[in-house]
């Protein structure tokens, strides 16, 4: 854990400096968490809701944080779980089968104001939405957030070997999708 995070945690446990420390934590991790969430739920409004829920959970649970892992790992874990819960809720609300829910996410990508089907980075986003949930998380955490497998295994409770295999499969599927679309 970085010294700065330890210092922030100490400040958070002091009622007088609690809010100031919390604000600092938000400012430090807000963008990373936002983009992690945004890539998972696609729409900004959804990402905003999920991100705020994540920080509310952090506020409620940070005093009990045991510090046996890095704060950033813990935050990513909360964010990932919150994303999965949100997507699960969406599935239940729409009562659509799993594959149709994934195509629902693709539709959200297409509905983005800046969507350009000719640009490769947008095709990549469409390809990511075709992936199974777990592979999607692994790919975005590795490809965009450059998270080491060791950290990722703590976030996702999965072995490093399984994560490497998931990442490999995900890359291959994305390549196939881009070549065929």
């Amino acid at each position: 854990m970085t010294i700065q995070d330890t210092e922030l945690l100490l400040q958070f446990r002091n009622p007088e400096t609690k809010e100031r420390a919390f604000t600092a934590i938000i400012r430090k991790y807000q963008e990373k968490l936002y983009w992690h969430i945004r890539r998972m739920v696609v729409e900004h409004e959804d990402a905003n809701d999920v991100l705020q829920n994540v920080f509310i959970r952090v506020w409620n649970g940070l005093e009990n944080f045991r510090e046996d892992s890095q704060l950033y790992t813990w935050l990513y874990r909360i964010a990932t779980n919150e994303c999965l819960s949100y997507l699960e809720q969406q599935k239940r609300k729409s009562a659509l089968p799993l594959d149709e829910t994934e195509s629902g996410l693709s539709n959200k990508v297409i509905a983005d104001k800046y969507f350009d089907p000719n640009k490769l980075e947008w095709k990549l986003q469409l390809a990511i939405q075709q992936l199974p949930e777990k592979q999607r998380i692994v790919f975005t955490l590795r490809y965009y957030d450059e998270m080491p497998y060791e950290e990722m295994s703590r976030v996702l409770d999965t072995s490093e070997g399984a994560l490497k295999a998931s990442y490999h499969h995900a890359v291959k599927k994305i390549e196939d999708y881009i070549l065929n679309h």
């Binding site: 590795r142 490809y143 965009y144 390549e175």
Partner: protein, 285 residues
């Protein structure tokens, strides 16, 4: 977002194509979104921990119970402030009678209420039934003297007394009826078992069940037995029974035995006697 070469180097052997794609996320977010995010989250957290929207005056519930009891003990103390406590306000008095209430709402209706619309001819009850005319004025039920006078006092006394512990109501088990059914069912089953067992074990003519049969047979004459067997033979047509009847029907006498044994050589008969000694009186040729 910084692009680090090690991720791309790792990706290149897996997919050259994916490694060439820009890692810039194409999604966009409002420029000032992150500026105020921390304050918005904190505001939301504070809103969630905000106390309830409805408030009661401080100390409202202190003395509330006592105030209510005092009001009840005061009898028809509606509209009076018998209670105590900071928030204990007197309830609005209800009208004492229906007439008063109606007068407040509509004086016209209150006036009309006293006037009976329907009338009956004078002396109607006397004409229909003199008994009814008299009975109309009589009430067969009575109350103890001074009952209504003492009623409010009695209720107040009861309110002042500490509440006695109520005896728990007697619980009548539904199982009683069920038990009768259970006993009946058990009796029927036991009876069936005994009947079937007796029928299976007490086969007529089996050993031990009819010890008197040989004794009784000794008293029956040969002629009767012969007649019985002849009849049985006529009724039974199974081969086993038929042969048994035939054997039983043979009437052997000494002459027959002699003629039967006459054809057997003496040597063989002697040998038979030597092997099966005891039959001393068997006649020989």
């Amino acid at each position: 977002m910084n692009v680090k070469n090690d991720i791309l180097e790792e990706l290149r052997p897996v997919s050259e194509l994916v490694a060439t794609i820009s890692r810039e996320t194409p999604y966009r977010v409002a420029d000032d979104y992150f500026t105020d995010l921390a304050n918005r989250v904190l505001l939301r957290i504070k809103t969630q921990h905000k106390p309830l929207a409805f408030n009661v005056p401080d100390g409202y519930f202190e003395g509330f119970a006592e105030g209510m009891l005092a009001r009840i003990k005061a009898g028809a103390g509606l509209g009076t402030s018998a209670g105590s406590g900071p928030g204990f306000e007197p309830m609005k008095a209800l009208p004492e009678t229906v007439d008063q209430e109606l007068s407040g709402l509509s004086p016209l209706l209150a006036q009309l209420r006293s006037k009976e619309t329907y009338r009956m001819p004078e002396g109607y009850f006397e004409e229909v039934s003199p008994i009814l005319a008299v009975a109309k004025e009589l009430n067969p039920y009575t109350v103890p003297e001074e009952y209504f006078h003492q009623l409010p006092v009695g209720i107040e006394e009861k309110l002042e007394q500490p509440q006695e512990e109520k005896k728990p109501a007697k619980v009548v088990a539904f199982g009683r009826r069920t038990r009768l059914w259970q006993y009946s069912a058990a009796a029927v089953v036991a009876g069936l078992i005994l009947t079937i067992g007796w029928l299976r074990l007490h086969v007529p003519g089996s050993h031990g069940t009819s010890p008197t049969v040989p004794v009784s047979l000794a008293k029956v004459s040969d002629q009767d037995l012969q007649n019985f067997l002849a009849n049985t033979h006529a009724e039974n047509d199974t081969p086993v029974d038929q042969s048994a009847a035939n054997i039983a029907a043979l009437d052997f006498n000494d002459g027959d035995i002699k003629s039967l044994l006459g054809e057997i050589p003496d040597g063989e008969l002697k040998q038979y006697m030597d092997e099966h000694g005891g039959a001393v009186d068997i006649a020989t040729n």
